[in-house]
Structures are given as structure tokens and as C-alpha cells.
């Protein structure tokens, strides 16, 4: 049974089709990336999953069925727009949000003490939330999301406003939670974080699926379009190579449609070029993102 199943959902606001046709499933215990450019429909999709909005079409199954009040206590949600009470002390704010997730007050207090220590916020527990820095508020928001130890964690831009040290702490936390069996759905624009953390992704654009599947499989799909070579001497003319770029002696060859890396290597050997380095470049997720989105400019 999947933790989340989104099947052909669509949502329109007035004249705007926010989500046209999005489908994906999140497996239990994985970190799943929900990616897409600004305005692609990611946040609306998350709100549809959480039953904040009802879809015009399609179905959403979360933790084995429709959203219920009981399931809200098994889900942790951190929205892109952070939501903490600004005018009350941090500890009181987090205690309140924790108890709303069904935790007894004493247990909430106990867990909170540990998490405040872990995120270096213990000394600031009595300060009003508005007096904390953006990064501290971000950490506080993360604490409020995981305080009740949810089965499913839905987090939107978890690394925003975090310095590298705190970003690492959050990444470690996410890996730890995954190891404990927590399912994590993460939406972010920071592709290197996705590459580091996610098992599978869905990329949506203009409210539709563009890419979906295991991250390594997707990367393999886009592999073979580029090779990196270092030659001693000038490169010979190569058929099937669209563009050449490079620096520091390394050439990046973008291959034309139908050209395989092996054919390029055969050409180099045929021209008796001295090949010091030959590598089939695995594209970064950034590159895949740009290419995939560029290939579907009018997805709706």
C-alpha cells in the first residue's frame, strides 16, 4: 500500500487551471521529490493531498484512503509559507501546535525539550517567535512538523533560509526519519538536495506530469546525450556532435539525436586521436529539470 496515491487530479481556480492532470504514488519509507518550476502546481497538489482543497477531478488516497481528522495526527506538514504565531513565546507556540496533533501536553513538552536542544534553540525558548532570525524560525517550523513523530511528512522548501550547517542537520534528520520508516514528500527548488536525498521524483509543469520515477532511472534516461573527453591535441571533426564546449582541457560534446557515445568513441579512435579521458556524462538534476521543462513549454 502506498503512503500517497494521486490519480489524475485537476483543480481550477476561476480562469486559472492550477493543476490539469497530475498522478504519482509515494511509497512508504521513501523520500519522494515533488518538483516543478514556479507556478507548476506543486503547492496546489500538496493542498489537494491534504484535503485543504477538493479536486475538481481525480482522486487522492493518503495513508490508505481519503483524508480524515484522525489521519491529520499521523501527518506532518510544513508549508512553503511558514506559519507560526509571531507574538507568543517559541515554546508556548510549539507546545500548542504539538498538542493540536493529539500529543499529551507532558509528552509534547518532553519531546520539545530534546528537539530544541538538537536544533540549538533551547536558549531561545522564551523569546517571541518574531524575535528569532529567519533561520531559527525555519528550524522551529521543522520542529513543529516532526514533534508528533508523523508517519508521513510533507515539507515544502525545507532548506530555505538555512545556512550550510543547519541544512546538513536537516538532511541528517530526514535520513534518520527515513531510516525509522517515515515517508517524506519534499518539494524544493534545490536540485542538489533532491539528488542527495530523494529516492524517486515527480516533475510537474503547467499542472501536468513531466517526469516520474526513480531518480537514478530518470538520470539514466537523460544519460548518453553528452560525453566528456580530454584529448591530447585538437579534436578531429566528429559527426553527430551538435555542440562542443569545455574548459581546462576537458571537452563536453552534446550528441545529436540518434548518435550514441560509442559511435563518438569509434570516430575518435578512427581519427587516431589520443584519448586521455572519456566519460558518458550523467546529467545533473538541474540539467534534467531545465531540459524536461523546456521540452514541454505548453504542457496544458
Amino acid at each position: 500500500m502506498h503512503a500517497v496515491e494521486v490519480h489524475q487530479v485537476a483543480k481550477r481556480f476561476g480562469a486559472t487551471q492550477a493543476v490539469a492532470d497530475v498522478s504519482f504514488a509515494v511509497e512508504r519509507g521513501e523520500i519522494f521529490g515533488l518538483l516543478g518550476p514556479n507556478g507548476a502546481g506543486k503547492t496546489t497538489t500538496i493542498r489537494l493531498m491534504l484535503d485543504i482543497f477538493r479536486p475538481d477531478r481525480g482522486t487522492v488516497s493518503i495513508l490508505g484512503g481519503p483524508m480524515t481528522e484522525e489521519k491529520k495526527e499521523r501527518i506532518g506538514y510544513m508549508p512553503e509559507e511558514r506559519g507560526l504565531y509571531q507574538n507568543i513565546p517559541l515554546e508556548r507556540c510549539l507546545l500548542y501546535l504539538g498538542t493540536l496533533k493529539g500529543l499529551p501536553r507532558a509528552e509534547t513538552r518532553q519531546r520539545l525539550a530534546g528537539l530544541l536542544e538538537r536544533f540549538d534553540l533551547a536558549a531561545h525558548r522564551g523569546k517571541k517567535v518574531k524575535e528569532l532570525s529567519k533561520g531559527m524560525q525555519q528550524k522551529a517550523q521543522i520542529i513543529s512538523t516532526i514533534l508528533h513523530q508523523p508517519e508521513l511528512l510533507i515539507i515544502d522548501e525545507p532548506f530555505a533560509s538555512l545556512d550550510p550547517i543547519n541544512a546538513r542537520a536537516v538532511k541528517d534528520l530526514m535520513r534518520q526519519l527515513r531510516a525509522q520508516g517515515t515517508t517524506i514528500l519534499m518539494s524544493t527548488h534545490q536540485m542538489h538536495q533532491v539528488e542527495e536525498l530523494c529516492d524517486r521524483i515527480v516533475l510537474i509543469d503547467h499542472g501536468r506530469n513531466v517526469l516520474y520515477g526513480p531518480l537514478d532511472q530518470i538520470q539514466r534516461q537523460y544519460t548518453g546525450r553528452k560525453v566528456r573527453v580530454r584529448l591530447r591535441g585538437d579534436p578531429p571533426p566528429l559527426a553527430g556532435v551538435q555542440q562542443t564546449a569545455g574548459g581546462n582541457g576537458m571537452l563536453e560534446l552534446n550528441l545529436a539525436e540518434g548518435t550514441e557515445p560509442q559511435q563518438v568513441l569509434q570516430q575518435l579512435v578512427r581519427h587516431q586521436a589520443i584519448v586521455e579521458h572519456f566519460e558518458i556524462a550523467v546529467p545533473t538534476l538541474d540539467e534534467i529539470f531545465i531540459r524536461a521543462v523546456g521540452e514541454h513549454p505548453d504542457a496544458v
Binding site: 481550477r12 481556480f13 476561476g14 480562469a15 486559472t16 492550477a18 493542498r47 491534504l50 485543504i52 481528522e69 491529520k72 495526527e73 501527518i75 506538514y77 508549508p79 509559507e81 511558514r82 506559519g83 507560526l84 504565531y85 509571531q86 507574538n87 507568543i88 500548542y96 501546535l97 498538542t99 493540536l100 496533533k101 493529539g102 513543529s144
Partner: protein, 401 residues
Amino acid sequence: MSKTWLIAQHHFLEEARKRTFLLVLLALPLFIAFAAGLGYLFSLLQEDHTTLGYVGPAGWVTDPQASPSNPDVTLVRFDTTADAQQALEEGEVDAYYVLSASADARQAQLIYYEAPPYSAARTMTDLVRRNRMAGQPAALVERAIAGAHVTVHTGESDRAYPGGDPTLSHFLPLIAAGMFTFLVITTFGYLGEAVVIEKESRTMEVLVTSVSAGQMMAGKVLGGLGIALLQIVVWVACLVLIVVLGGSLLEIEWLQNLDPSWRDIAMVFAVGLPVYLFLAALTTALAATLVESQEIQQMGGLAFLLLFFPLYLLVPLIQAPNGPLALGLSFFPFTSVASIAGRSLVIEVPTWQIAVAAAIALACGIVTVWLAGRAFRLSMLRYGQRLRWRELLPGRRAEPS
């Protein structure tokens, strides 16, 4: 603890912890106590010991001790007018009476440079009356001294004022209505701010993934009700304290012998509760459509004007308490509580009118709760964007957020 109670407790405590709340809580009783104290002090300053002289033949006053003692008045008898005049000029007396030679003539002259207080003159009058009735049964004397008992009946109903004028007891429903209005205003500001701040701070999106919209709204309304009840309890306790202290210890006459009409007070509550529900739901619906917390304060000012509107029209309401204006205002939820309380000064408002006013307010309340829920759901994630009222109509699609 249920989530509704958790939310109610949170909002109650957050509001109760504010300094402004403490100020509002104590401002009204302090103001009433200050006004009552000032009045009492003023009356004390007005009171002064008075010495009155009188000149008269035997037969007028045979027993100078007949009048119940008034510690503020001393009566001095003079044999001649010249003696009395000399005493007046030398300041030994504040004024003196010259009683006519014959007691049957029933004439007396009061000589003074500055008129003595009415209470002092009344002491002299009572003394003469008691002397004239010496030998009569005591009950008869007391009844005669008490004078006429005037009871005013209003033309529109059987409402009566035994003292001739409405007393504090008659004004209690109006005071209850005033308190209700202050409570509504407080709730308006509190509830509205709670909703707008949660929208502004984006907390709403976190909350709706923890609790249902119904739990959230019920919790807020209960929290507001708790604050309102705390205010009522404190205000009523202060009012009782003022009445007890003022009536028993300070002997302020209009605070003594209170005989409130419990029917009229119950009537204010019977209409006030559904009106409260209506206004609380309306506040939430309004707050959901607004963007900034400042706007809710402006709306609060408008609500204040509407709620107090019947008090501006109190004179026409009393002149025609069963007229179309009075009925219209009594059935309009915004003005019903103050109108009915105002009318109760001169008539006993018919039960059917109270029932109709309560039913209209309840119906409006139910519709507005539905509207508030819809407004809340449509606008909760609409940051910095106003919800248009026409979007609340069934079948209308929300604009993009």
C-alpha cells in the same frame, strides 16, 4: 482534551494574558466606581451642618425633641425676632423661622441671607407637623409625615413607578444591554483579530492540517465566549460590590432596595445569546474576507455604532414603544437587544416579540455560521487578497489564490 477545547483554551489564555484585556476588564467597573464615588463625594461636600432658629409663640412647638434627630440640623428657639436676627447676623444660625402668632394661622416666614438646604427646612417642617399632631396614633403621624405616595403608570402598559420616576432597578435591563454591547464589541475585536492574524502569519495553513475548520471556528468562538463570560462575571461582581457598598455603607439612596425585574433581565439574555452567535459568526466571516488586522478594528467601530443605534433613538422609542420604529429595531438583530431593553423602561415587552426577535437572530446566526464556514474555507489560504462577497454564494467559483 478535545481539540476544540484546546483551541478555546489557547485563545482564552492568549487574550487574558494581554495587558489591554486587563485594562478593558477593569475599565468599566473602575469607571462606574469612580462616577459613584465622585457623586457621593460631591453630595458629602454639598452637605453641611445647619443651625436653624425659630421664633414663635407657645403652641407651635411644644416638644422640640419630637422630630427624629437629624445630626446635620440643630434647632434653636429664640424668644424674639430681634434675638434671632442678631444670631443670624453673628452667624450663630444659618436662617430662622418666624412663626405666626397663632398656630392656626399656619404661616411662617423664613429669614436668611443664604437659603438653607432643603433637608434642613424639611426637618423644621417635620418638627412642626409632629407637634401639631401630638396625641395622635404614631402610625397616623408617620403616614401623614411621609406625604403623598405617587405611583406613575405608563399609558402603553401596566408598567408602574411607585416613586414617581424609574429607579436603578428599572434601568438594570438597559445596563445589561450596555454590558452585552461592550462584550460584543470586545468579541468582535478579539475574534476578528484572531482570524486575520492567523491568515497574516500563515498559521492557518498549519492549523487546518491539524484540526477541522469546524473545530477551529468552534474553539475560537468558545475562547471568545470564555473571555466574554469572564468579563461578565467580573463586571457583575463589581456592580454588586458597588451596590452593596454604596447602599449599605455609604447609604446612597438610589442603590438601596433594588428590586430588579428578572423577566426583563432574562429577556435581554434570551435575545442576546442568539444575537451573540450571529455577531460572532458574522465577525468570523468578515475577518475571513479581510486582509489586514487594522481593517477589523475599523469594522468594529461600525458595529459599535449599529449596536448603540437604539440608544440614540431612546426618546422616540419611549414615546412610542409599540410603534413601527420600535418593532423594526427590536426585530433587527443588530439593534434588537438595546431596543428591547430600552422599551422595557416603559412597557413590558410582549413575550411573542421577544420570541420573534430571538428566532430572527437565531436564523441569521445559522445562515451566518454557514457563510462564515464557506468564507473561511475559500479565503484561508488567500494571502494578501480580498475575498469578494459574491464568491460566497453557492455555485460561485473562487478566484485564483
